[in-house]
């Protein structure tokens, strides 16, 4: 067999780069994953340990690679739309929003105001669902079991709204290029308002369980610290960046959809540790509720679909459009050659870039902290690998 087909073991590759002191018996290389409950998917982390202390890590990713960007080049613009839902499948609505808006920009079309409002409501509901799933699983990783049941119970209410709106709960494909496919169902506004009233006290409930819980605080405070300048250098965005004290949110910095119409705050932390990231995400859920309430109150009447041709042929050109997904900056770089299929679609996934910071965050920490840090980064491997 040719040498290029023999598998190079990442552990071996890792060991080859080691410093000479590695032969010391106190150091150990440990494989975490790809099948490990706290890696939230198929992520393999090779840990270099000195007892309980982490000396270095290497991530091995790609187990879920499906070639989404290649598929895009062989589908029409509209046909590719459902595929984006399957990247970050816990925030499918955000993925769809980013893609639709990018293609709309390329087409020089804008979705009608009513569609924009529907988009904001669903996207913010999805942000809440994504944060709920994050909180439940993150807390479970650290050893708190109850929040998992609470968050999944409440997430169900969001998914029910999605189901009633478009028939799907997870990979919703709720938006179309040019607007929305579906008008809101009878009672949509009431359902959303009811959810807001129902969910607000639930956030307090989560906080009661965790915020001052001694075990939670000890497991998260001072763990996985990432400073603001480090975040910027590593391209880390989303709640992780904001927890490091950088007040930056694309919904404010470069507003898209209807976000400029709403009042909300950008929660930030100071220490950039796992605890602050928890506080930021919890505060974000409250802000999302605030946005949803305003959007439901002010939802305009009118068309939900812009006038776009049946066959989409964006003019020759390229565009980069990004949105604030629950995990950070989700960007689409779309190149059109004037035909019905995109010439190239590049997805800039927040999880992929954020995961790169894992090494910096866990070096010097304990093995148990690795679990906490993977949880706090809020990665979805479907998006990391695409």
């Amino acid at each position: 067999m040719s040498e290029s087909t023999t598998r190079t073991d990442p552990i071996l590759a890792f060991e080859e780069k080691k410093d000479p002191t590695f032969l010391d018996a106190t150091e150990l290389v440990l494989n975490m994953g790809p099948q490990h409950p706290s890696t939230h998917g198929v992520l393999r982390v090779i840990l270099k340990l000195d007892g309980e202390k982490v000396l270095g890590t290497e991530c091995v990713i790609g187990y879920l690679h499906r070639g989404v960007e290649k598929i895009a080049e062989h589908r029409t613009y509209a046909m590719f739309n459902p595929y984006v839902d399957r990247m970050d499948y816990v925030a499918a609505v955000s993925n769809g929003l980013g893609y639709c808006e990018a293609v709309e920009k390329l087409l020089n079309v804008e979705a009608p105001p009513r569609a924009q409002y529907i988009r904001v409501i669903l996207t913010e509901l999805n942000r809440i669902a994504s944060h709920q799933l994050w909180l439940g699983t993150h807390a479970l990783d650290i050893g708190a079991m109850t929040p998992l049941f609470y968050t999944f119970r409440d997430r169900e209410e969001v998914l029910k709204i999605f189901e009633r709106y478009c028939g799907a709960r997870l990979t919703t494909h709720s938006f179309r290029i040019g607007g929305c496919q579906y008008e809101t169902y009878e009672g949509f506004e009431q359902d959303v308002k009811k959810f807001c009233d129902f969910f607000e006290p639930k956030i307090d409930e989560y906080e009661q369980l965790l915020t001052t819980n001694r075990i939670w605080v000890q497991r998260t405070k001072g763990v996985g610290i990432l400073s603001g300048p480090d975040c910027k250098a590593l391209g880390v965005t989303g709640p992780v960046l904001r927890a490091s004290g950088v007040k930056w949110d694309l919904r404010k910095a470069q507003p898209y959809a209807a976000y400029k119409d709403f009042e909300f705050e950008i929660p930030t932390g100071q220490n950039g540790d796992t605890y602050d990231r928890y506080l930021v995400r919890v505060a974000e859920m409250r802000q999302s509720l605030r946005i949803i309430r305003q959007a439901v109150e002010g939802i305009p009447e009118g068309a939900i679909m812009a006038k776009i041709p049946k066959v989409l042929k964006p003019p020759v050109g390229e565009i980069y459009h990004s949105i604030e997904a629950p995990k950070g900056e989700l960007g689409y770089f779309v190149v059109s050659d004037g035909s019905t299929q995109p010439y190239r679609v590049r997805v800039r996934p927040p999880s992929f870039v954020n995961l790169q910071a894992l090494n910096k965050m866990v070096i010097g920490g304990l093995v148990a902290d690795v679990v906490a840090v993977i949880g706090t980064l809020d990665i979805v491997l479907g998006e990391v690998d695409r």
């Binding site: 290029s4 391209g235 812009a306 041709p309 565009i319 035909s339 870039v353 790169q356």
Partner: protein
């Protein structure tokens, strides 16, 4: 396969002079498949816009960059987004300049586009963002298959994995990258899937047979 039809009419890179760019864009415009939709009463964009063209981009930053790099760069603005096409020879200094002097402190993305019909087959694209200025700029350079692009890992740590992905998917090399290995595909894999000559159902069958013990992954 669709490759052949897709590879033929690649987006024309904007011409240096704006007049030529405008002229070159026009012929592609006539709409084909769209039924002549009745003009709606509500204000809506025309069913088939002829397509905006990249315009030359002028700003203080561009003037400063011009002073430094002369004619090696062509700044454009398209649909409100600014980008600079730079010569491969100056792109490394330009990225450095953008980070150090123009406050572009965040490297959002590094990616590439393959144009097989072109002499310099690859576009390498850096998407940069500046927190203090709240501005984006894209830097683009064209390189041939045998050439390599400068690595931005020394400027922005985020470029590390992004460049590895470009290497994995396109086979482009980045000079100065500390650890240029495949990232999404297995190390022994042959071929670079996002090149246009790589078919959509193509796979490294040898690898699949040896490592997975199955005839085909399809």
């Amino acid at each position: 396969m669709a490759d052949e039809t897709k590879g033929s009419d690649q987006p024309a890179p904007p011409k240096p002079s704006e007049g030529a760019a405008a002229a070159s864009e026009k012929p592609a415009a006539p709409p084909a498949a769209t039924p002549p939709a009745a003009k709606p009463a509500v204000p809506a964009p025309p069913p088939k816009p002829a397509g905006p063209v990249p315009l030359p981009w002028e700003s203080e930053m561009v003037t400063r960059l011009r002073q430094r790099f002369g004619s090696g760069l062509q700044p454009f603005t398209y649909l409100g987004q600014n980008y600079v096409i730079a010569d491969p020879s100056i792109v490394a200094q330009m990225l450095q300049e953008l980070r150090d002097e123009e406050q572009f402190d965040y490297c959002v993305d590094v990616t590439a586009v393959h144009y097989p019909k072109r002499e310099k087959q690859f576009d390498v694209v850096w998407v940069l963002y500046s927190f203090p200025r709240n501005q984006r700029v894209r830097v683009k350079t064209m390189i041939a298959e045998a050439e390599s692009a400068p690595s931005a890992t020394a400027l922005w740590e985020s470029a590390n994995w992004l460049e590895r992905e470009v290497f994995d998917m396109f086979g482009l090399r980045f000079d100065g990258h500390p650890d240029l290995r495949r990232i999404l595909l297995p190390d022994g894999w042959k071929g670079h899937p996002l090149r246009k000559d790589y078919g959509i159902i193509q796979q490294d069958q040898e690898w699949v047979q040896i490592n997975l013990g199955i005839e085909s992954g399809q």
